[in-house]
């Protein structure tokens, strides 16, 4: 589904990703952990080309997105992304946030888009907020709308970059609940998070990154309970 080969990324002379190789299978949930500045966000953003790739290849369902001939907008419709800061469109109502991309990109009729948006809002438990503006929502509600917005394009893959890090602790649960539901439905997911409970419960695999490299990669149980590398041990002792 996702194949990352020898991915390198530099900002100027700062090499942030140094030879990353990852394969994510269909319906797999991969959790990425690692210290601040290790390149987790950059890695995720390379998968939908929000960052240009310095070297290497990323294949999404066999399509090389680093190939100049690839229509990146088309690929992005297959890869949803959820951001730490939500990035909802503040000038649009909740329902309009969700309807915008299907109508613009897929030429879906307003009627059809609205129907679909309401369905998604029901799924994330926010049907009653359809006509509200994002500013009136709590952080947890905003993030659930952001997930619904990404799902409106019916992506095959969902990327999450610390979706609960900007939330008050009491709101983390409601967002994780939606993500767990998605995982259960068989969505392919790559999740950067510090929520180890979530990683253990729904993660098929955990990747530990440090200094732009994948240091260790294993099932959650193996990686959390029997880390092999010293750097992994040191990191886990701090966060667990």
């Amino acid at each position: 589904m996702i194949e990352v080969k020898n991915l390198k990324k530099s900002f100027g002379t700062n090499e942030v990703l140094k030879d990353i190789n990852v394969t994510v299978k269909s319906q797999e949930v991969v959790v990425v952990i690692g210290p601040s500045g290790s390149g987790k966000s950059t890695f995720l953003r390379c998968i939908n080309l929000l960052e240009s790739i310095t070297d290497g290849h990323v294949y999404i369902e066999g399509i090389d997105i680093t190939d100049k001939k690839t229509d990146i907008n088309k690929v992005r419709t297959e890869v949803g992304m959820v951001f730490q800061q939500f990035n909802l469109f503040p000038h649009k109502k909740v329902i309009e946030n969700i309807m915008l991309a299907p109508m613009q990109v897929r030429n879906t009729s307003a009627e059809e888009a609205r129907k679909k948006a309401l369905e998604l809002l029901r799924k994330v438990g926010l049907e009653d907020k359809a006509e509200a503006f994002p500013d009136s929502l709590s952080g947890g509600q905003k993030q659930r709308v952001a997930i619904a917005r990404a799902l409106a394009m019916e992506p095959k893959i969902m990327l999450f970059d610390e979706p609960t890090s900007a939330l008050d602790p009491e709101m983390v649960g409601e967002v994780l609940e939606v993500m767990k539901q998605l995982a259960k439905e068989g969505m392919t997911m790559v999740v950067v998070t510090h929520e180890m409970g979530f990683a253990k419960e729904v993660g098929d695999r955990v990747i530990f990154m440090d200094g732009g490299l994948i240091v260790e990669e294993n099932t959650p149980i193996e990686l959390f309970d029997h880390p092999k590398e010293d750097r992994t041990k040191a990191f886990l002792s701090k966060v667990l």
């Binding site: 992005r76 419709t77 990035n87 469109f89 915008l100 917005r149």
Partner: protein, 218 residues
């Protein structure tokens, strides 16, 4: 200082005509300047340094030289070059438009760049093109933030349009000067002109603050 009301009465129709032209010049200047300014602002934001350079030079020139110099150049040199003759009103509109375009370009650029880059990223991550994201996500938010500085620019333009009197465009200040020339009086014409400018700028800022408040609560 005894005010001669009779000459004021005699000039009232001229002041009225002049005021209308002042409003017309300012409106034309802001409208043409806004359209031009949008293009120049977008031009300056282009990533390619070579392509954005001319737009940068344009902005630097019009913001870095006095409007009086600009209107003289345009009236006596530029317009005759293209039409073979002079035309005060055309020169005034052209100068006000080109000058305000430079300021408005910077207002546009600042407005667009003030929008959090997460907005563009969210739109693009949904598969929208750069143009779609600009049109539906970035510009609507940027426009709202641009209204106060745009209003400011409009007020500046009303005042600066008085320079058109120096190339004999018959706007408000032109008739003030004409009145001084005819009757050798200074208080009557210039206090009158000042009061009319004040009414124009105060009404405009009143309208703008109403508009801002309405947009803020939306």
């Amino acid at each position: 200082m005894d005010i001669q009301w009779d000459i004021l009465a005699e000039y009232a129709p001229f002041f009225l005509k002049g005021t209308l032209l002042t409003i017309g010049l300012s409106l034309a200047g802001i409208l043409i300047g806004t359209v031009l300014g949008l293009f120049i602002g977008l031009g300056k934001m282009m990533k390619n340094k070579f392509l954005s350079l001319p737009f940068g030079i344009y902005i630097t020139f019009f913001r870095g030289t006095p409007m009086l110099v600009q209107i003289m150049l345009i009236h006596f040199a530029v317009v005759p070059l293209f039409t073979g003759g002079t035309n005060a009103i055309a020169a005034a509109i052209l100068t006000l438009s080109l000058n305000s375009a430079a300021y408005i370009a910077e207002i546009f650029r600042a407005g667009i760049q003030s929008i959090d880059k997460g907005q563009m990223e969210a739109a693009r991550s949904l598969g929208m093109t750069h143009v779609q994201a600009m049109r539906h996500v970035i510009l609507p938010q940027a426009f709202k933030r641009m209204i106060p500085p745009l209003g400011n620019e409009f007020i500046v333009l009303i005042k600066e349009s008085s320079l058109a009197s120096l190339v004999a465009a018959p706007e408000l200040m032109y008739w003030g000067r004409a009145m001084q020339g005819q009757y050798f009086r200074v208080w009557e014409p210039y206090i009158t002109a000042a009061l009319i400018y004040l009414v124009l700028t105060l009404s405009l800022s009143f309208i703008l603050s109403r508009l801002e408040r309405r947009l803020a609560t939306e």
